[in-house]
């Protein structure tokens, strides 16, 4: 069916067929208005096959209204009017559904309607049809999208449409995209010169379509010059791809590292500075994540902003829980670090069950605001997901803030004084009880803030804390207890090590290797990456 010599992209055959059909139809007769109405009615059918056919025939219609219908369908706005077997556009406002005529845009009043369900094949067809129609759209962004969509489509119709558009295209970016699409299409040309020119045009292109189209040429082009050029271009592309892959791995590692740092940094305070083995740390993270959920539930229309609001809220909620834990339990256990482990383990069980009982044993939905979704496309081969990028930045900010608090504020001074010599600090007039409570509250609050970030990446449920507690301890111990920089460097190192090993070792083995590495590392440096110094640290 696809007559092109080269492999085509997944959705290309349908698109090719469509456009072919389109050209044929323009030669004969267009779809008349009555037929458009009849075709529209087909969309109400149950069978996806029938619906797909309907989409295809609307796509080929010359009728100017076809595009708006296709767009409405793609946006999920087409409904079947219950009772009246008729396809309408539905717009929900609150609980009522306003119905419009899809052909005329006329308001039809309110009514009950059932949405027309799409399947993937229909979505692909719609996307192609809309792209083909928007290649000549006045909106440059739409044209760019359409040109990108048509990358790798080597059908003559597509080539012709692209070439036509190129002649009148003014926008540089769109021109580049069209040139690229044309070059890929021309790789299949009969004349060796055209092919050679196309190969040259594809130099350093990171689009997978370009690479896929070059592969067969490099393997078996009849013309040796083309073959050599294609081979050379491919090699260059592969090298570029390899560098991009390395950059990607580094980002993955930093991102995993930032998650580890966020999870561990609160512990670096409660455990590192105060010496409390806080097994409930994971549950404080969980409370932060649940706070995010509650804030989002309280402000349903404000998803884009509520996350920002959740940060202080989570800090306060987890911080208060932390202070409560410190005042009621931990303050009786100073100097007995191992017993804090037992008591806080008990607390962690209670907190888990608390959430199960009062919220739900199931996971809850924490939505991603729009600015946390999607990715930043640096080039066709390298995209950084926004949520991870922001979390990486956020982790660094939290780290910096903590550093400032501990280094530059009165509280920080007191915290350090108490952690170094409790008796002396008290003698100097530091209210050590208050400092203990605030320090623990700070560590707990930071855990809560970490929970906000983690809620954007993973499950929010009663068990989520358990997933982080062990890794957190590993990071703090690996970095060196009592040293915030150790936690940062430790977390990032483990994250990158894990991600570098993952491609060849697999996720599980990479993690095992990281654990073994930590065990061996501690043999070499029994006090971690950045050991506390001085006589006080010994003994």
């Amino acid at each position: 069916m696809s007559s092109s010599r080269h492999g085509t992209r997944g959705n290309a055959p349908i698109l090719a067929k469509l456009l072919l059909f389109l050209t044929c139809l323009t030669l004969t007769t267009g779809l008349s208005a009555e037929t458009l109405e009849a075709t529209l009615a087909q969309l109400a059918e149950r069978s996806f096959k029938v619906k797909l056919e309907a989409v295809e025939s609307i796509a080929t219609s010359e009728d100017g209204r076809a595009l708006s219908i296709l767009e409405a369908l793609a946006a999920g706005e087409l409904y079947t009017w219950k009772g009246v077997p008729r396809v309408v556009i539905g717009r929900k406002s609150g609980r009522t559904m306003h119905l419009l005529d899809p052909l005329t845009g006329q308001a039809l009043g309110e009514g009950r309607a059932k949405k027309i369900i799409l399947n993937n094949a229909m979505r692909v067809a719609l996307r192609g049809a809309i792209a083909a129609r928007t290649l000549s759209s006045p909106d440059p962004a739409a044209r760019l999208g359409a040109a990108r969509e048509m990358l790798g489509d080597t059908s003559p119709a597509a080539t012709k449409a692209l070439a036509t558009q190129l002649e009148r295209e003014q926008d540089a970016e769109v021109r580049a995209a069209i040139t690229l699409a044309l070059a890929i299409a021309r790789l299949g040309a009969q004349e060796a010169d055209t092919r050679l020119a196309a190969v040259t045009a594809l130099e350093a292109s990171l689009y997978p379509e370009a690479r896929n189209a070059l592969l067969p040429l490099a393997e078996a082009d009849p013309d040796p010059a083309v073959k050599a050029a294609a081979t050379k271009t491919l090699e260059d592309i592969d090298q570029l791809l390899a560098w991009n892959a390395r950059a990607e791995t580094l980002f993955f590692g930093l991102s995993l590292g930032s998650v580890l740092v966020l999870a561990a940094i609160g512990l670096a305070i409660t455990f590192g500075v105060m010496g409390v083995i806080n097994m409930a740390h994971g549950e404080l993270i969980m409370l932060g994540a649940y706070t995010t959920y509650l804030v989002q539930s309280a402000l349903p229309g404000w998803i884009d902003y509520s996350l920002v609001l959740a940060i202080p809220a989570a800090f306060i909620v987890s911080g208060l829980f932390g202070i409560a834990i410190e005042r009621t339990v931990i303050r009786f256990l100073y100097g007995r670090p191992l017993e804090t482990l037992l008591a806080t383990f008990g607390i962690s069980l209670i907190l888990q069950q608390l959430v199960r009982t009062f919220i739900s044993a199931q996971n809850v939905v924490v939505q991603n605001p729009s600015w946390m979704s999607g990715s930043w496309q640096i080039n066709p081969a390298l995209a950084l997901t926004y949520n991870r990028l922001y979390i990486l930045i956020f982790a660094l900010l939290v780290f910096a803030a903590l550093l400032v608090i501990l280094r530059r504020t009165a509280l920080g001074l007191e915290v350090r004084a108490v952690s170094q010599n409790r008796a002396m600090a008290r003698a100097m007039g530091v209210r050590s009880e208050r400092v203990d409570a605030l320090t623990f509250g700070l560590g707990a609050g930071i855990a809560g803030v970490a929970g906000v970030a983690l809620s954007q990446l993973t499950n929010v449920g009663p068990n989520m804390g358990q997933a982080y507690i062990i890794d957190s301890f590993m990071v703090v111990v690996f970095g060196g207890v009592g040293n915030l920089w150790g936690t940062l460097v430790g977390g990032m190192t483990l994250g990158i090590a894990n991600k570098v090993m993952e491609p060849w070792a697999g996720a599980v083995l990479a993690k095992i290797l990281v654990l073994i590495f930590i065990i061996l590392f501690i043999q070499k440096r029994p006090r971690g990456l950045f050991p506390q110094r001085g006589r006080a640290a010994e003994g």
Binding site: G7, T8, R9, G10, N11, P13, F48, G76, I117, L118, N119, N120, R123, G152, P208, E209, N212, E248, T249, F252, S255, L256, V259, Q352, Q353, R356, T357, F358, A361, Q362, N363, V365, Q367, N368, S373, G374, S375, A383, T385, Y386, N387, R388, Q456, L457, T458, N459, V460, G461, P462, N463, Q466, A467, N498, K499, E502, P503, G506, A507, V508, K511
Partner: protein, 432 residues
């Protein structure tokens, strides 16, 4: 409601605790029929299993409204095996030996079932297992009301092939169900002419949360020019971060559709589904199925949980079918005696929620329709394909070399869970 029930439980419980010594054997009251509920209410599996506990409680309540069974009231005995496999075995023994329950509804994941299996066989109890599983088992004492691989995996792959998929990623959590399913699928795909280099198999640990590298690999694998799909046997918890990463890395269902066997309405209720529209799942039931039976069931569920937002899912339907079949069998046999019920239940039918009938087969599996749904924005699935008739569950896969000659048949004269059709011998899994 939760708090008051909690207080009631604590008060009731402390009273019970005094009377229940470990050495005092439990007293089986004669005026009720006890039904055991063996689902984790704490630990990692609680996320999935608490719903099933509630389902059984609802079914028991409804049965009692209808007058119970054999003129007796049903009484649910709930225990918490806490996602701990040895504890599953202990609790199973407790239910059977101490509480003398007539049947147990429970377990989720094969390891919990494997852990309790010897206990049910030793004490001759009845277990209804409601979750899809890898097959390769048939016990006299267990009824498998979830899907076997031939009722879920293979039809899903057929559907995708029909949609033009040529390249396959089989991604799963590293445990028996994905391993077996992928093995079966690999054999099946190769038989259909898929080349080795067009299959990518990847396993991850339980609760895996960092999917960056794997999703990026899938993306690269899928950009080689052939239509690619992911067949996901990723378990429970790991799905949320997986789908989030898919969405963020821009893998849409139009490019690389993901068909999942362990993601249902319940799992989706923890995910923002907008970026996932079009990804697929294969099940035997979807909440969105438009039948009167299903509407009634959903309504009852909402009334029971006093929460109109609670979703229903496939394992819940499996419990409903299992429970109804058991109730029918008890009435047919006129007793709750294990052997009588076991014989009576084979061949019985009950309506499922998708408009067909579920029949208990001699191999202790049931007939099920296979449905393929695409994820919608509202977290529901829209059915895009379904089998025309129900598919009988197959205990032993035809695509695995070790089991292709095996079959299970618990009716006379074979009465065997692993009967070798070539040598015509039973390999040991016999009734007592």
């Amino acid at each position: 409601m939760r708090i008051s029930s909690l207080i009631r439980q604590v008060v009731l419980g402390s009273g019970l605790a005094l009377s229940l010594g470990i050495t005092v054997p439990g007293h089986a009251a004669d005026d009720t029929i006890k039904v055991g509920v063996l689902h984790s209410l704490s630990g990692t599996m609680a996320i999935s299993e608490t719903t099933l506990k509630d389902t059984v409680l609802m079914l028991v309540e409804e049965q009692n409204k209808k007058g119970g069974l054999l003129g007796k009231e049903l009484e649910a005995v709930v225990v918490d095996p806490a996602s701990n496999w040895p504890l599953f075995a202990e609790k199973a023994r407790e239910l059977l030996e101490k509480d003398k329950v007539a049947a147990v509804f429970g377990c989720w994941t094969s390891v919990s079932r494997k852990s309790v299996l010897p206990v049910f066989e030793e004490l001759n109890g009845l277990l209804f297992y409601p979750v899809q599983y890898e097959g390769e088992e048939s016990s006299k004492n267990v009824f498998y009301t979830g899907a076997a691989p031939n009722q879920q995996a293979i039809p899903a792959v057929d559907y995708l092939m029909d949609q033009g998929v040529e390249r396959w990623v089989l991604a799963g959590t590293d445990y028996v169900y994905p391993r077996t399913t992928n093995k079966i699928l690999e054999a099946y795909l190769k038989q259909k002419g898929v080349a080795d280099e067009d299959i990518l198999i990847n396993y991850t640990p339980f609760g895996h949360s960092d999917w960056q590298s794997i999703v990026s690999d899938i993306k690269k694998f899928g950009s080689a020019g052939k239509k690619t799909a992911v067949v996901s046997t990723i378990n429970g918890d790991a799905n949320v971060p997986f789908y989030k990463e898919l969405g963020n890395q821009g893998i849409s269902a139009e490019n690389i559709p993901v068909v999942a066997f362990s993601v249902g309405e319940e799992e989706l209720s923890g995910i923002d589904t907008k970026p996932l529209v079009g990804h697929l799942a294969a099940w035997n039931y979807f909440m969105s199925v438009d039948t009167p039976e299903n509407a009634t069931f959903i309504e009852a569920w909402h009334a029971f949980t006093k929460d109109s937002k609670r979703v229903t899912n496939d394992p819940m339907e499996a419990h409903l079918i299992g429970f109804n079949l058991w109730a029918k069998a008890v009435e047919k046999a006129g007793t709750t005696d294990t052997d009588a019920v076991e014989q009576a239940i084979i061949g019985l039918e009950t309506p499922n929620l998708t408009g067909g009938m579920a029949k208990m087969l001699p191999n202790h599996h049931i007939t099920k329709p296979v449905l393929i749904g695409e994820i919608q924005e509202d977290g529901q699935f829209a059915v895009v394909w379904e089998t025309e008739e129900t598919v009988p569950g197959d205990a032993w896969s035809d695509y695995l070399p070790g089991s292709k000659d095996l079959k299970a048949d618990w009716t006379a004269p074979i009465k065997c869970g692993n009967y070798n059709t070539k040598t015509e011998t039973c390999l040991g899994s016999e009734g007592m």
